[in-house]
């Protein structure tokens, strides 16, 4: 089985966001594999272990993203591909990212592509379904269970708290929701092995893509932090009185009840 996992290098979720000049400051920040993409990598490895085949992890970005690819290799992926856009493109949007990924995958033998359902930075969740559409394969988003049984793929997906049970077939793209699995930590031998696993680096030229083909459709014009909330009130006194006061405040001051 040819399994692809799409990953994105993102800010560690512990990081505070600092904005200056309308941009997020990245200096000194810790980066991780987008948490939802970790579920994708784990699921890809489990599928390979159950059905045989090969797991290739794929990312877009600059050289820094090699760190996340090596981590996925250390978890157990077999090969990694970096589409390096650093020198050619100033900006990427979902349209451009999906175009690049689909361009790479279009002449590959693909059985299943697994991605995170959303990246914790940009948060649009568009790239997975866009890639599936460009490759003209089916997709299922926010999955919490995946079982491949011969030609039938049985999936449970989360839809706003409810579970949808469905069946489909390969080739397929799925996006991982929390609860799909428990991503493993790379083992020390895994980390050692990962250093020798193949990591291919491609640029736009290698994909036969012209910069104009991936000109962004949307443009970020500013980034700002949410307004600081004024310090709240911690109520005092007997608990029963505090509760009374709280209900009263919600009623008269906050007017939400």
């Amino acid at each position: 089985m040819n399994i692809y996992a799409l990953v994105k290098r993102t800010f560690d979720t512990e990081e505070k966001i600092v904005v200056s000049g309308g941009k997020i400051q990245e200096d000194g920040a810790e980066f991780i594999i987008n948490p939802y993409d970790e579920y994708a990598v784990e699921e890809a490895i489990q599928l390979r272990d159950a059905h045989g085949g090969k797991v290739t992890v794929l990312t877009l970005g600059g050289e820094d993203a090699e760190e996340q690819l090596r981590k996925a290799l250390a978890m157990g992926a077999d090969e990694a591909v970096l589409i390096n856009t650093e020198d050619d493109l100033d900006e990427l949007d979902e349209y451009a990212a999906a175009t690049l990924i689909a361009e790479y995958l279009k002449d590959k033998e693909v059985d299943i592509i697994i991605a995170g359902n959303v990246a914790v930075d940009g948060g649009s969740g568009q790239v997975g379904p866009r890639v599936a559409d460009l490759l003209d394969i089916n997709y299922v988003t926010t999955i919490t269970s995946l079982e491949i049984d011969g030609d039938v793929v049985k999936i449970v997906r989360d839809i706003e708290g409810d579970s949808e049970i469905l069946e489909t077939a390969l080739p397929l793209l799925v996006t991982a929701q929390q609860g799909l699995n428990e991503p493993r930590y790379p083992s020390l031998p895994g980390i050692m092995k990962a250093k020798k696993k193949p990591l291919e680096e491609l640029e736009l030229d290698d994909l036969d893509i012209d910069e104009d083909d991936v000109e962004v459709k949307t443009e970020t014009v500013d980034i700002f932090l949410p307004a600081q909330k004024a310090a709240g009130r911690v109520l005092e006194g007997d608990i029963a009185d505090q509760v009374k006061e709280l209900v009263n405040l919600l009623h008269t001051e906050a007017k939400v009840i």
Binding site: I17, Y95, G123, R130, D133, G161, Q178, T220, K229, V243
Partner: protein, 324 residues
């Protein structure tokens, strides 16, 4: 220049979701006086058309087909693309719901268009529209513009106020016949898990529990309070990891992002990842034994105390207020 804007209405268990009306209001903002065309898809949806008009749609197109009874990206994209080909809209608005998130990228891809997801507000200056959307799960916001092509965006529930309902408005309702074929996904069953059908992302009140809830039974008083207030139950990652509740309830940087009118955090310490998922709620109430808990830094009102003591009292007090 006016824009013709298409709005996808979305029904849940036979009634239109609020986010559909919010999407109409958002569509009006970018239409600049242009026509708002609502689209309703399903096996029988014509009955819902009047309500879309009452909330501001000028015209409604229905596509009814047995294959549209349940959402699939194949079925719905065929129907939506047929409407787009007929209408040639300059704008398209979906709700940023499970359905909208799943479908909108596919439509955008087919149109080779940009798409701004999860919009919480819009600044308009004539034909120039700047969309504001949360990034880093609400730790920051970005202002984004669509450079060319169709103005396509999804709106986050609970953020853009719908227009006032006006039952005297009238609008043309027409149906479009579309051949829906080759569905690659077969839905077998939908298992309902959410509290009384109140969806977490659209709920006006969310009562969320953390590790302090201590067990799955510990969620009972939270459920009772949520039911009483017509709200939904949520949880922190800690509570989900400890198996007190299902991951579908998780609020935070991984998990759902919610912006209710009232967020009650019970036994939640307030890790930065959790705050990302709820700190844009209008009013936050924190109940925690630990006076140093970080959740108090974002709370509008805090009670330092044991949630198992506070919640029953709170339920009684809300009952009294309801009765009076």
């Amino acid at each position: 220049m006016t824009k013709k804007v298409l709005v996808l209405g979305e029904a849940r268990e036979g009634s239109l979701r609020n986010v559909s009306f919010e999407a109409i209001a958002a569509a009006k903002t970018v239409a600049n006086g242009g026509e708002i065309v609502a689209v309703l898809l399903g096996d029988t949806v014509a009955d819902l058309a009047k309500e879309m008009v009452a909330y501001g749609a000028d015209r409604v197109i229905t596509v009814e087909h047995p294959h549209l009874k349940q959402y699939t990206s194949d079925g719905y994209s065929q129907a939506v693309m047929a409407v787009i080909e007929q209408e040639n809209p300059e704008g398209i608005v979906f709700g940023h719901t499970a359905l909208g998130k799943d479908l909108s990228p596919k439509i955008a891809s087919k149109l080779q268009a940009g798409l701004v997801s999860d919009v919480t507000s819009i600044e308009s200056d004539g034909d120039e529209h700047t969309f504001i959307r949360p990034i880093y799960s609400g730790k920051a916001f970005e202002k984004i513009k669509i450079k060319d092509g169709v103005t396509f965006f999804t709106v986050r529930p609970n953020n853009i106020a719908p227009l006032e309902k006006d039952d005297s408005r009238s609008g043309d309702v027409s149906s479009l016949a579309v051949d829906i074929t080759n569905l690659r996904t077969v839905i077998k069953e939908v298992v309902r898990k959410s509290t009384d059908g109140v969806d977490l992302s659209e709920a006006k009140v969310v009562v969320a529990g953390g590790r302090g809830v201590k067990s799955s039974e510990g969620f009972e008083p939270l459920k009772e309070l949520a039911d009483l207030l017509g709200g939904a139950i949520g949880a922190s990652r800690g509570a989900c990891d400890a198996d007190y509740c299902d991951y579908s309830l998780q609020i935070g940087q991984t998990g759902k992002v919610v912006t209710p009118d009232l967020y009650i955090a019970a036994g939640i310490s307030g890790a930065i990842q959790h705050l990302a998922g709820m700190s844009n709620s209008k009013i936050i109430v924190a109940i925690n034994k630990d006076p140093e808990a970080n959740i108090f830094n974002v709370a509008d009102y805090g009670i330092v105390g044991d949630l198992f003591e506070v919640l029953p009292l709170l339920i009684e007090e809300f009952k009294k207020v309801k009765q009076s």
